[in-house]
Symmetry: C2
Subunit: 253 residues, 2 copies
DNA sequence: CGACGAGTTGAATGACGTCAAACACAGTGG
DNA sequence: CCACTGTGTTTGACGTCATTCAACTCGTCG
């Protein structure tokens, strides 16, 4: 998984994950990996081809919007490759990232069904390859291919679950707990010790903070407190989790 | 709509909407109003009957759980009639209501698709009539009736949108703004004046506060501040909005 | 009448955001 | 090689908003 990631996002220098600028996405329409969007049980060749025919691909340069809040939504939007930040642009200032999407994944599979405008802005952080699926023909396709409809349903169910948990945590967990659970979720097995793990930060810390609903300053302070408590050890964009158990405890508020 | 509501929830006394206890739900399986669950364009008679055949109805007494977090989810759960609070029970204490669902509406149409346990607890506030749709046969049904799949997809899309907005507001709006937008959303045309409206509170104030992610105390204080500013006027469970424009401004933080 | 639950109000604490300064580091141009 | 700049992070001081704890009111019910 990490190897694949590296092929899409340019390897970030050990310290300083500012917007990566290299990242070559083959300019021509690449073949779309629908399986990554619609879940594990592999899709039939025919299903994929039908979707391919519907999808309109476009490239978005780094820094450019994929869509903006308020725009009417007529298509489902999938991110094939690249990174896109979703949030709401503040007057004048930069965008407050509420979520960072890493292709391949859905950017917005719901607004189009409701004939309502987008709720959030989406801007590309890296050059991005995007596929638009117009609603009407997709609907016709789903009528013929029930398996596709199932898959889409399951994808949306996952989104509902993710958002439910997220809203719950924002309501009832304080900042330390949110950070702790976030770290736990990204733990990768460390040096073999059962209570040890590693987290590599692939985004700017301020973006992570923004997604966790706190300011960069608070996040920095929380990291320091955790370090002082010998629960983690931070060096640049690598976090060594020294006491995974304690970290989980902190997250379970 | 209000007349209908009154027929389902017992008319709450003007002051004190504690858990209503009367509410007669016909004990036998009532005919299900699928249109209310799956959106406006009316369903065909055949579709409805097919769903009726699948659905397993059950009654839940007030105070009893409809489902609990952690339980494996094998069915989609719809609330046909009654009120159900969703949230997470705290150790010992009562439940922190994160959302109050008023039938007919979906309680959980997503967990079953993912074969994962429920995320939240759901307990009936009034006697409730619930329908369970087992996943496997429903899936088979959707394969035969694409229209139903579409409708379900649209319902879930609405849920995604609702949750997205909710998460956004929790992150970036402070308590006064959240209360203001909540009030705006429930405004009913008042005495004709363009800047005037009425909001009738159908739940305990502490439940409303809980759904807005604040404590009852803060909510009470915020209501008082708004009254002092002559933006609203509170009398028991009836809120007169005196300056709708100002209220909207307060909500748009 | 007394008990209870819901709501209100006040005072005190604390968590988190804001503002500002210092720091670290990469890239740039001399 | 070295200043110089720009961006991102860290740290400190400070203010504010929201929670907590507690007392008190009001209406209902036994």
């Amino acid at each position: 998984m990490n190897a694949e990631t590296a092929s899409i996002i340019v390897a970030r220098p050990p310290r300083l994950p500012q917007v990566s600028r290299a990242t070559f996405v083959s300019a021509a329409t690449a073949s779309i990996r629908w399986g990554d969007l619609l879940g594990p049980p592999v899709l039939s060749r025919a299903d994929c081809e039908a979707l391919d025919e519907l999808a309109r691909q476009r490239s978005v340069a780094a820094g450019q919007p994929v869509f903006l809040h308020g725009e009417p939504s007529r298509t489902l939007v999938a991110l094939l490759a690249g990174d896109v930040a979703m949030g709401l642009a503040t007057a004048g200032g930069p965008m407050r990232t509420e979520r960072l999407v890493h292709g391949p994944a859905w950017l917005d599979a719901s607004s189009a069904w409701l004939d309502r405008p987008y709720v959030l802005d989406a801007v590309a952080l890296t050059p991005a390859q995007v596929a638009d699926l117009p609603r009407a023909p997709l609907q016709a396709l789903l009528d013929q291919r029930p398996l596709l409809a199932q898959r889409l349903l399951v994808s949306m169910a996952g989104e509902v679950r993710r958002l439910t948990v997220h809203a719950h945590e924002l309501m009832h967990k304080d900042a330390p707990a949110r950070l702790a659970t976030w770290l736990c979720e990204r733990c990768q097995p460390g040096n073999g010790a059962p209570n040890h793990a590693i987290v590599r930060l692939a985004e700017r810390k301020s973006d992570i903070a923004s997604q966790l609903g706190m300011t960069p300053e608070t996040m920095s302070r929380l990291m320091r407190t955790l370090s002082d408590q010998r629960v983690i050890e931070v060096e640049g964009y690598t976090v060594q989790v020294l006491d995974l158990q304690a970290l989980r405890r902190l997250g379970g508020a």
